[in-house]
């Protein structure tokens, strides 16, 4: 049995009065692509953010690659360096070229030399097909290109796991494909991925497991086959019906 890269036990998280995560247990093994779906405001993004402590959990424990994130004296920056994150609105560093965006993690967090970091950054940009944009600023890139640079920035840290928080939701429809292509490529290279998305085509084609979340709970989980063609819960069926109608099946 493969050891889990991520293990979550009894996770709770509230924002003020509002409890957004109501006791979640989850294990993700190496090389697994887990897609998390569900209506807006049901704690999907918060779940991702708890894994690298961008949000601090109220209760429960989280382990990443064997280290307990939630332990009192964890060096959180060390753990974050092992967890890549890709955001809905890209959050590329506005004042840096694509190359510098990808270089800064390895050089400032890992202490890599300028030359090494540069070489690595060019390699990662090549991986997302944007090496010719190395000297462009984010303001000169399309949304799809920005997101691919953001993926390269995360990959440059050689993460054990990648978290994708609605990576295509802010993109024009014609730019979604290029980002999904990069993500599919990563999946083929056996990157462990947690993906919050509404792209059902991607979920069907690439994921090993789908998690349906609603109201801070995991309602149902299973293989794409199970969830799409034979859902156990009525809510899952309703949601998948609606989302397929809205977004179509193709990613």
């Amino acid at each position: 049995m493969t050891k889990p890269i991520i293990r979550i036990k009894g996770l709770h998280k509230s924002y003020g009065e509002l409890e957004v995560i109501k006791g979640i247990d989850l294990e993700v093994v190496k090389g697994e692509v887990l897609v998390i779906i569900g209506p807006s405001g049901t704690g999907k993004s918060t779940l991702l953010r708890c894994i690298n402590l961008l949000s601090s959990p109220d209760k429960g424990q989280i382990w990443v690659d064997g280290d307990e994130v939630t332990a009192p004296h964890t060096d959180i920056n060390k753990i974050r360096a092992k967890v890549g994150m890709v955001f809905q609105d890209f959050n590329l560093f506005t004042h840096m070229t694509a190359l510098d965006n990808v270089m800064i993690g390895p050089s400032k967090v890992k202490g890599m030399s300028k030359e090494e970091a540069r070489e690595l950054a060019l390699f990662e940009l090549e991986r997302v097909g944007l090496v010719e944009k190395a000297d462009a600023y984010p303001g000169q890139l399309s949304g799809g290109q920005k997101q691919r640079v953001a993926i390269a920035r995360a990959l440059a840290m050689s993460p054990k796991v990648m978290l994708f928080d609605e990576p295509t939701s802010a993109l024009d429809p014609e730019l979604i494909g290029e980002v999904l292509e990069v993500m599919k490529k990563l999946a083929r290279e056996h990157m462990t991925m947690l993906v919050v998305t509404h792209e059902m085509g991607f979920a069907k084609e690439v994921s090993n497991r789908i998690l349906f979340m609603e109201d801070g709970n995991i309602i149902e989980e299973g293989t794409p086959q199970q969830l799409f063609y034979n859902p156990r819960e009525q809510r899952t069926k309703e949601f998948l019906g609606k989302i397929t109608e809205l977004y179509g099946e193709e990613g």
Partner: protein, 240 residues
């Protein structure tokens, strides 16, 4: 023409001296203001509760009182015998806070500018999208690194435009120091006027000198802003 040349010859040595004082005073006070304002802005945005309170207190106190009151406080107030005695009792040398006129001028203008500059820097720091900090932390940069490598370089670019206003204000505000008898451009002007009763010539003329300096600064800062411009990094001004 000949008359004008003679007049110019007569006033230039004094006016030139005053102009140098004004320019030095402006540059020095802006620098002092920068050294005060930038850390205060950082304290206000990223500091602990106490640092925030301290920084806010400073900014409010300075912005809420007249510059003249501050100038008099630093020049006359600190020279008060009771304060002097207090300092001597604390083991400081006699007349420790009895300042030279020009020193008092630098300090008053610098401390005053510091509060305004703090506000400009604070505005720029807060204009940076929160996602920048989140993405930096997610990469594994610690808070200090994120502020230093991600937030500050962006804020410094955004602050150039408002900061150039402060430069223009400063050049004009330095003229208040004539009141503690610092011989700056305006101080010299007053001396010339009282000797020759020629205020109708002198005032427009000196006004023009200030105007030219301000225009040069505005032009220069515009160049600087262009030099450091990065596509996509600006505060979007929405026009309705």
């Amino acid at each position: 023409m000949a008359e004008l040349a003679k007049f110019w010859e007569m006033i230039w040595p004094e006016l030139g001296r005053g102009l140098v004082v004004t320019l030095r005073l402006s540059a020095g006070s802006l620098l002092i203001g920068l050294l005060i304002g930038f850390p205060i802005a950082l304290m206000r945005v990223y500091g602990t509760r106490w640092m925030k309170a301290l920084a806010t207190g400073y900014v409010d106190a300075v912005r809420g009182t007249p510059l003249l009151v501050q100038l008099f406080f630093i020049y006359y107030g600190l020279a008060d015998p009771t304060i002097n005695q207090l300092l001597v009792n604390l083991g400081l040398p006699e007349g420790f806070l009895v300042l030279e006129k020009i020193t008092a001028a630098y300090l008053a203008l610098g401390c005053n500018s510091g509060a305004y500059q703090a506000e400009y820097f604070r505005g720029a720091l807060q204009a940076i999208d929160a996602g920048q900090m989140i993405a930096a932390r997610a990469l594994g940069l610690n808070r200090l690194q994120a502020i230093r490598y991600i937030i500050i370089p962006q804020a410094l670019r955004l602050v150039i435009a408002p900061w150039s206003n402060e430069v223009a204000y400063m050049v004009k505000y330095t003229s208040v120091v004539y009141i503690i008898a610092v011989q700056d451009l305006f101080g010299e002007t007053r001396r010339i006027m009282s000797a020759h009763y020629n205020q109708m010539t002198m005032l427009p003329f000196v006004g023009m000198i200030y105007l030219v300096i301000v225009l040069l600064i505005t032009w220069g800062m515009g160049r600087v802003e262009k030099q450091f411009h990065i596509p996509g990094l600006q505060i979007d001004v929405e026009r309705v």
